[in-house]
């Protein structure tokens, strides 16, 4: 259902503490919600930024508040046998996507007047001799969004395959196949580099 997702942040996977906090939020305990906010604000901020890189700082702040406030209601749907962190990440993505949808309708209207290339990113191609790391950076930024999302969730946020499937609302097999494709591309890139050192064919 969700095609373009974001990538998650680092947080402490401390599910026992989370479970207690969630339980208290379900009882309407604001302080527990405050604790969750303190604990996962960074992760949620990252989820928001990854989902919508061009969001303004003010919008991001509002959205993060909104994610945590929505927990007051959503938390009753949360099955406490599950792990909280990936679930919250998924909530943050969904909220951001809704926000982006609403926003893009307005942006469309605005753009008819001022044509700016809002949605076309980023990363200008680097010239010259590329170091390994630069080659990889370039390769990473040219991965399809779906693959990159899975890669970041796996590598940076340390989510398990099943958790990623849940977050992105995709099949577990899709998680693995995206990860594998990303891996193949990237490994191939390094391999090529080894074969023709100095070459800057960044074939993807």
């Amino acid at each position: 259902m969700i095609k373009q997702i974001s990538k998650p942040p680092l947080a402490i996977d401390d599910s026992a503490v989370d479970a207690t906090l969630v339980k208290r939020v379900q009882g309407g305990d604001v302080r527990a919600l405050g604790d969750l906010y303190a604990r996962y604000s960074v992760m949620v901020q990252k989820a928001v930024v990854r989902t919508m890189p061009r969001i303004s700082d003010a919008d991001r702040e509002d959205l993060v508040h909104d994610v945590f406030l929505s927990l007051l209601k959503l938390v009753n749907k949360f099955d406490r046998a599950r792990v909280f962190r990936p679930w919250l990440y998924g909530v943050a993505i969904k909220k951001t996507q809704n926000f982006r949808r609403k926003r893009s309708v307005r942006a469309l209207l605005l753009r008819q007047r001022a044509t700016n290339s809002e949605d076309n990113p980023v990363h200008p191609p680097a010239d010259g001799q590329l170091e390994n790391a630069e080659i990889m950076e370039k390769g990473l930024s040219s991965l399809p969004a779906g693959q990159k999302d899975v890669l970041i969730l796996h590598a940076v946020e340390g989510f398990k395959g099943e958790e990623i499937a849940e977050i992105l609302e995709i099949e577990i097999n899709t998680v693995w196949s995206r990860l594998h494709r990303a891996r193949k591309t990237m490994l191939q890139l390094l391999e090529n580099e080894r074969e023709e050192p100095g070459g800057h064919e960044n074939g993807v």
């Binding site: 942040p9 208290r24 901020q45």
Partner: protein, 495 residues
């Protein structure tokens, strides 16, 4: 040959023994080793790239931020308290319904000394240790009236489960609750409760005259399930809920799962999961609000009770996926086939049909009591179901296994359950310590075991030792996920 496991290894989804085998293989296979180290490099670059693009733009909240947020949250709670779930189209709710169970009860507004009723104070002390902190008593706004809910902890249910057909009157004594099956549906009456039950092909109707009851109801499009009370009727749309009727004729419905329709004299309301509906008097109309944790907690214990009580298994998933493997059938199957079945159950479990997987595994284990993999899988299922104690019991047995690798793996998983699900640091240490003693330096999961051992020590107040362990994790596991987590944790505990 083993090379084909490379990606699974990098994914982190080889199981214990296979990982070990593969790591042995790495020592002899330059190709796999090269790719493994390339991959590590890629992960490092991915992390630093992400940090550049994303990490640099975010910041942890200050304590002022948190306070500001809490103020916003209080306002939101007041607003939610007035939320109503009226006017949802019934058809939509029916289509969305999957699994149902209902709890119906009559709650007494009397002094909390009745044996089956717990005082609110007792309930909340069970829930939130520092809830009694000053600062605005936030939960008050959600749970307006001090209505006393049935506390499941001290209630006993008769283990005999009646099978109801036709019309019958159920009467639960002052001390024991009473459970009954109505075909695929199950109901449990609280002590001092009374209901008339009518079972037919077209409808299951429970007239709750007094007291409380919990129901699990199978979704059924052709058969209606309805609970009538003196003040109103509750129609099951596909749900797990509780209904309470007080002697003063107050009706309260708590919905744990799905949606129910509450019909009063002049109006009806769709009540969704996580919500409570009340009818205080004939004239008052239906008031809905969010359920408090106490209310849901009482329910969840009840639900568990229902799952445990029946002599026959509850077929929550009906017969769509036949998981029926007879014992004698299994005896002549080859090992390959049993592996295939284990895989099937694993998939079922991942797909969410944990009950189906458990059922299949239990049958299978009757024929193959020594199958270690099946036991591990069964334990995983129990964890999924939120039954950590059952899982722990299985791991405890497996930790005695004569094969060291099996025993080690079980010890690790036992520790994992203790710390993550049971929040019991002593128990965690009891398993992680021998695991760390008996597994090699390069054993998989060693980093995790160290990390959670440190976590357990922290919870026991042994900060110094915990810090040392975390530092060693950072040192040894560096840029891997667990190394990062240890680094973050250190940052958290050090001012």
């Amino acid at each position: 040959m083993v090379c084909k496991y490379l990606y699974k290894y990098l994914d982190g989804r080889l199981d214990w023994e296979d990982r070990r085998l593969f790591e042995d293989h790495l020592a002899h296979c330059p190709a796999c080793l090269q790719q493994t180290s390339d991959w590590q490099q890629i992960l490092t670059v991915a992390a630093s790239l992400d940090n550049k693009d994303v990490g640099a733009r975010v910041a942890p909240p200050s304590s002022l931020d948190v306070q500001r947020f809490e103020t916003m949250a209080r306002k939101r709670i007041e607003h939610l308290g007035r939320l109503s779930f009226l006017g949802r189209p019934l058809a939509v709710a029916i289509a969305a319904a999957v699994l149902l169970g209902i709890a119906i009860g009559v709650w007494k507004n009397e002094a909390p000394d009745t044996p089956h009723v717990a005082a609110p104070a007792a309930v909340s002390s069970r829930v939130a240790p520092h809830k009694s902190d000053t600062s605005g008593a936030p939960s008050q706004s959600l749970s307006e009236a001090p209505l006393v809910s049935p506390s499941a902890t001290d209630v006993h249910f008769d283990t005999k489960v009646k099978e109801l057909t036709g019309s019958e009157t159920l009467h639960a004594s002052a001390h024991n609750g009473q459970c009954a099956h109505m075909g695929p549906d199950t109901l449990c009456l609280f002590p001092k409760s009374r209901a008339e039950v009518m079972v037919s092909d077209k409808a299951h109707v429970v007239a709750l005259q007094s007291g409380s009851a919990v129901f699990y109801v199978q979704p059924n499009e052709t058969r209606e399930f309805r609970v009538t009370t003196p003040l109103g009727t509750v129609v099951v749309v596909g749900t797990r809920f509780s209904v309470t009727v007080t002697p003063e004729h107050m009706l309260q419905v708590v919905v744990k799962k799905g949606t129910v329709r509450v019909e009063g004299d002049n109006e009806a309301a769709m009540v969704q999961k996580g919500a409570v509906a009340r009818i205080v008097s004939e004239k008052s109309g239906i008031v809905t609000r969010l359920a408090t944790w106490d209310e849901l907690a009482a329910f969840s214990v009840l639900s568990k009770m229902i799952e445990e009580v029946p002599a026959k298994p509850l077929h929550l998933k009906s017969a769509k996926k036949p998981v029926v493997h007879d014992a004698h059938q299994l005896q002549d199957t080859a090992q390959a086939q049993s592996l295939k079945m284990l895989d099937t159950w694993r998939k079922e479990m991942i797909a969410g049909d944990v009950d189906g997987a458990i059922e299949g595994l239990l049958r299978y284990l009757q024929a193959h009591p020594n199958d270690v993999d099946a036991r591990f899988l069964l334990a995983t299922c129990h964890k999924r179901k939120g039954h950590p104690k059952e899982a722990l019991a299985l791991y405890q047995q497996l930790a005695q296994h004569q094969t060291l690798s099996v025993a080690n793996r079980a010890a690790y998983l036992a520790g994992d359950v203790c710390i993550k699900q049971l929040s019991n640091p002593q128990c965690a240490l009891q398993y992680f310590t021998p695991f760390l003693d008996h597994s090699g330096r390069d054993a998989p999961q060693r980093g995790e075991a160290l990390y959670y051992k440190a976590e357990a020590l922290l919870q026991l107040g042994q900060k110094k030792e915990a810090t040392q362990i975390l530092e060693s994790v950072v040192h040894t596991f560096g840029r891997t996920g667990i190394g990062q987590r240890a680094r973050n944790r250190l940052r958290e505990i050090q001012p």
